[in-house]
């Protein structure tokens, strides 16, 4: 039922764009962590924030796995609502995260980006999994 030609490739591209930015963030998270620490900080404080951010990034990667699995397996590939949510969320995530890196935002702001732009589409994706495999509905 692939009647909308542009949705599938654009969803794939925004997903990949977000993924690339998140992977880049693994290397360049240093300045963001320093941004949310006071001017003088102990290595323990640094490590605490670092672990938090790395955990958030790793969870993001996990959610990517969920979403890519749903997308590539066909569960949500032709579901236009899920595609819209996913495109919107990952597009905003890519923009917000590139600002996050360039403008050295505080590391706590990552959680907001995470909730709205990674968790939200992943949750709807999981709901789709349930409806498709649990309730045996057609995926679109």
């Amino acid at each position: 039922m692939g009647r909308v030609s542009g949705l599938v490739p654009s969803r794939f591209l925004t997903l990949l764009a977000h993924l690339v930015v998140v992977i880049t963030l693994f290397w360049s998270r240093d300045s963001n962590i320093q941004a949310c620490l006071p001017l003088t900080f102990t290595p323990e404080e640094y490590d605490k924030q670092d672990i938090q951010l790395v955990a958030a990034l790793s969870v993001t990667l996990g959610l990517f796995a969920v979403e890519l699995a749903g997308f590539l397996s066909g569960v949500s590939m032709f579901n236009s609502t899920q595609s819209l949510i996913s495109i919107g969320a990952h597009c905003s995530a890519s923009v917000a995260l590139s600002f996050f890196i360039f403008e050295r935002w505080e590391c706590t702001t990552y959680w907001y980006i995470f909730v709205f732009c990674s968790a939200l589409p992943a949750v709807t994706e999981m709901a789709l999994f349930v409806t498709v495999f649990g309730l045996k509905k057609k995926p679109f």
Binding site: V4, S5, T81, G88
Partner: protein, 316 residues
């Protein structure tokens, strides 16, 4: 004959759906994403609310003909000579009072009604044994600004200079600059500092103490200072010649910072917001057209029928 497209107009197509449908939710979300992010972009890129702005104005400065002079004398006759335009101060000086000859002239060079410079000349008669090594001089001015807020204040130029060799003349050529610790308001009358720098009616010596005068003056948020990095001392005074202070004080155009008013702030915020909003409006218009044209959200498209067919629609 070849035909050219001379005119075209778009045909409107409407999409119908319930208020609680996916399409309505999508439109609501799109509207939120259209109107809120430009605000965030404009706000996060700093300078959304204009906090401080500046303008140029030449102040209206008048010399108030109030002088307080302390001349520090040389090694053998140690001590000082003093004189001021305040009788109470002069009474306090006793033997140290020495009345100089003062001539001043204010000049309006460009004929705009605002004085541009002050020529101040003070000749302090000295005995042949007295040698001037240092000078402390206070001149007071009335200082007015008109363009935004009306600022009326009485300010001073404080000159302190000394030289190791006994001088015959001190030549000063500098600017009377405005110093602001806080921006002025954008309107109204500001007469906070319309009080005299030196309390000339006071009989107490404390009120004429230079440390007290300077300390009280520096408490102000708006002051003027005499900006002359290098006062010039001329040496070689004839035995009976007076010590001369020759000062040229200019009143330059000042860049005055002020706090913008409500409408100026809103105007600049609006300009920033709308210019970013236009891009978002265009992008989201395209997205909405794509979504509805391709039926990504379920709606019933209705092409607006020409006027003649209105009855037909009613029949069906």
């Amino acid at each position: 004959m070849a035909l050219y497209e001379l005119f075209s107009h778009p045909v409107e197509r409407s999409y119908r759906a319930g208020l609680c449908s996916k399409a309505a939710l999508f439109l609501l979300l799109a509207a939120a994403l259209t109107y809120i992010p430009p605000l965030l972009v404009a706000f996060r890129s700093h300078g959304f609310w204009l906090k401080r702005s500046s303008y140029e104005e030449q102040p209206t400065v008048r010399f108030q003909h109030q002088v307080l002079l302390v001349a520090l004398l040389g090694p053998e006759s140690d001590g000082f000579l003093a004189w001021s335009t305040f009788p109470a101060f002069n009474r306090l000086q006793g033997d140290r009072l020495r009345v100089p000859l003062v001539s001043t002239r204010e000049e309006d060079r460009n004929q705009d009604g605002k004085t541009d410079m002050l020529h101040f000349k003070l000749e302090l008669p000295l005995q042949s044994t007295e040698h001037v090594l240092g000078v402390q001089l206070i001149l007071t001015f009335s200082y007015r600004l008109h363009r935004m807020a009306t600022l009326v204040m009485q300010s001073m130029a404080f000159l302190q200079s000394s030289f190791p060799v006994p001088g015959s003349q001190l030549y000063v050529n500098g600017d009377l600059r405005l110093q602001q610790k806080q921006p002025l308001s954008c309107g109204g009358l500001d007469a906070r500092y319309n009080i005299s720098v030196i309390n000339g009616t006071s009989p107490f010596a404390y009120d004429y103490d230079l440390t007290h005068i300077v300390a009280a003056y520096q408490e102000r948020n708006v002051t003027t200072v005499l900006n002359d990095p290098n006062p010039i001392w001329l040496v070689g005074r004839a035995a009976d010649a007076p010590f001369v202070i020759n000062a040229i004080i200019r009143y330059p155009v000042e860049v005055i910072s002020y706090q913008p008013g409500f409408w100026e702030m809103v105007k600049f915020a609006w300009v920033q917001y709308v210019s970013i909003l236009l891009i978002f409006l265009w992008v989201f218009e395209r997205i909405k057209i794509f979504v509805f044209q391709n039926q990504v959200v379920t709606t019933i498209p209705v092409t607006v029928t020409p006027r003649g067919d209105l009855c037909k629609e009613h029949l069906s």
